[in-house]
Point group: C2
Chain length 438, copies 2
């Protein structure tokens, strides 16, 4: 799937210090780079980027990326509107169905994904339409509105009186768009919207409703802030988060991630850092005395907070990978094991009795078995949720580390081990029975 991205305009209202607008960073990633990666996540494989204003700088940036992209320069970018830029790409997209995005629209990948999944279905153009009229991220006076007739676009334009949704700036197009644009340009109308309106009036533009999926037209510093806030908020709704993660770790880690995206640190490096911090915490806890134990517990909890950031940075910078998630999960298992070893060693050091060893083994087995059964259990819960919709409390790593930290701070190493062993193994037993009864 080819993808055309428009990045030729000046964007006068958005001044990002010295950068050209497509290079304006949003959470550590320039808008144009974000647009390309978003399209890539949605399934696009080849990119055509039309540049105009300060084309040289943007081209230099793009050429530094390892992506299958072709830069197209529109020298006449200032002589009309964005339709002229689309026309420049005609020769590269002849006879193709292609995705069309605006560099200055921030999207979640699920939005173009849904459009691609729906497809043209015989239309000339399909447009992703946000039918959530109350969407607070939309600058209503400035937005392009869409009037619908069933699944078809009846009319489109900024000044529509009655309308059913907003133009998200995400299109799936056939070559017919170029013909319509050519006709409009001859008549002196040079905006993409003009051509889409022309096709819509002929009943050739399908609407794909994408209410609820994030998109922000970033044409002012306020909109940039809004987009940033929306992306950060979205991080806080991870369905597998347990209670401690949801109410304590996640709000903190999102704040950390907001800073971390501006640094060159990678998500995998963050995972490794959290593991090393957990190892250090385990060492501290293993030392004799309440002070070291408590400090170790606090460090463990801090590492658990930071551990949310690897995934968050990956999502914000569109760096998510299957390997990254797995790498993090495996290191988390080792962190869990080391923390429990630290606690066990401390408890054992106090009395030199086998009790600590027994409960320590019980806790580490329960902890691992809980993680081992998590995938299956989560799948089951997701299926059941779609039937009944009651969200369950999830016993996971967040609670585990929190209880370890609590036990350490309260100088109750053995009691924490007993509690963890009982809780975690009990939950595994519950899962075995629950899924059997299914």
């Amino acid at each position: 799937m080819k993808c055309l991205i428009l990045a030729a305009g000046r964007g006068r209202r958005l001044s990002c210090r010295a950068e050209a607008k497509p290079l304006c960073p949003l959470l550590g990633l320039p808008l144009i780079h974000r647009a390309i990666l978003t399209a890539q996540r949605a399934g696009a494989t080849e990119f055509y980027v039309v540049l105009g204003h300060r084309a040289q700088e943007v081209r230099d940036y793009l050429q530094g990326l390892d992506l299958p992209l072709k830069v197209i320069i529109n020298q006449d970018w200032h002589k009309g509107e964005n339709g002229l830029s689309v026309l420049r790409a005609r020769e590269y997209l002849r006879g193709q169905t292609f995705l069309l995005l605006m560099a200055d629209h921030v999207l979640e990948p699920a939005l173009p994904q849904r459009l691609l999944a729906e497809g043209l279905k015989g239309a000339d153009v399909a447009l992703a339409v946000d039918t959530a009229l109350e969407n607070p991220l939309v600058d209503v006076p400035d937005a392009t509105k869409v009037r619908l007739r069933d699944s078809w676009v009846a009319d489109i334009g900024k000044g529509l009186g009655a309308y059913d949704g907003y133009d998200t700036g995400v299109f799936l197009c056939s070559e017919a768009l170029f013909d319509a644009l050519g006709q409009c340009v001859k008549e002196g109308r040079t905006a993409l919207t003009d051509a889409v309106r022309l096709l819509a009036q002929k009943g050739r533009v399908r609407a794909v409703k994408t209410a609820g999926l994030l998109w922000v037209d970033v044409d002012s510093p306020q909109a940039l802030k809004k987009a940033e806030g929306a992306l950060l908020r979205a991080l806080r709704e991870k369905p597998t988060d347990g209670p401690v993660a949801r109410h304590f770790n996640r709000p903190l880690s999102v704040r950390l991630s907001r800073v971390l995206v501006r640094t060159p640190i990678t998500p995998n490096q963050l995972s490794l850092l959290c593991f090393l911090l957990s190892g250090l915490a385990a060492l501290l806890m293993a030392m004799p005395g309440h002070l070291a134990l408590a400090l170790g517990g606090l460090l463990a909890q801090a590492a658990s907070v930071l551990d949310g950031s690897d995934g968050e940075v990956a999502r914000l910078k569109l760096l998510e990978s299957e390997y990254g998630a797995w790498f993090d999960a495996v290191l988390d298992r080792y962190s869990d094991g080391l923390l429990l070893l630290g606690l066990t060693w401390h408890a054992w050091g106090q009395a030199q009795q086998g009790t600590a060893l027994l409960w320590g083994f019980g806790a580490v087995m329960g902890s691992f078995a809980l993680s081992y059964t998590a995938d299956k259990y989560d799948q089951f819960i997701r299926r059941r949720l779609s039937e009944r919709g009651r969200p369950p409390l999830r016993l996971g790593r967040d609670l585990r580390v929190f209880l370890i930290a609590l036990g350490a701070v309260a100088n109750q190493a053995l009691a924490a081990l007993v509690l963890l062993a009982v809780l975690m193994n009990g939950e595994v037993l519950r899962r075995l029975l629950l899924l059997r009864a299914r």
Copy 2:
């Protein structure tokens, strides 16, 4: 998908003590029950079984099963061949595409599955044809031969001079089969093969090649033995088996399973039994003295052998389930943990030093982490194997338990823990790096 199963004939050559032929047990499962479950695994959801000889007994058995099936009695079973039984089902299968099987053909589910996946593709009948002419499971003089023209059946019959494959007795049929059968019966030919030949001569029978997939026509005690042997041999080729499993555990467990399928013990009960035996082995190992340690180690290895049987019995009785596999895997993790705890406790009891605790934790972490990373690693290896075809040695539970047992018998509890910790954690590290480099 509806499925018609023919079980009306007498089967004079196969005498199973007092039972009617469809009730003849093969590895603990009557032939007719096996045929239904095989079709169900392949995707069939409704069953029509035509009975004739000793219909009452077979019907009584079938009515005790909790399956969506309809019994059809062919009173005239002795008045002709199996085509008459097919015609009896006409009223139930009007206008449908249906799978047609013989109760006395033992199949692996992948065979009808492939036929269903290929589909009719416009033909009146599709026939699964075994093109492996050297297949040792085929009784060549007695087999129905098939001559092919590209993907089409050109001729079919026992007496064909030149032929390209064998009729496996697995058909995908449209209603046209009934018309052809009706015509044949009028002319005095009452075998299913007659109707298939008639359609084949009109170029209406597609051949789906299934060379390599197991099927046995069980029409004699020798064939029954052959089928049993083939099903048992197939158990020994599990691609994820490690070296100890392949060369030691599996050959023994297959022998055990051959006996166990004849008992009412379920695969899940077997999993639980192995877990309890491992717990007992752990207790023995934890006791002081070399004798208890060695006995515990031997019991652990015995439990590891028996642990192959749950999956084998499930495969042989077509009882495999996602839950069963998962239940076994979770219990195995606990067995691993308990065995390592037993060994650690023993080592700790000898010196009361923290060394045992440290290495014990290391071993249990490595053991769990190895299992935790196994799915991902196996997926990766499968993908790579399909590219290069070099089978790797797999470090898994078989080797782990074997090393535990070896350590116990050699009275080297601590050394075994050290070896296990180094090996298992080293392998996890290797997997992390290998999959990253991908």
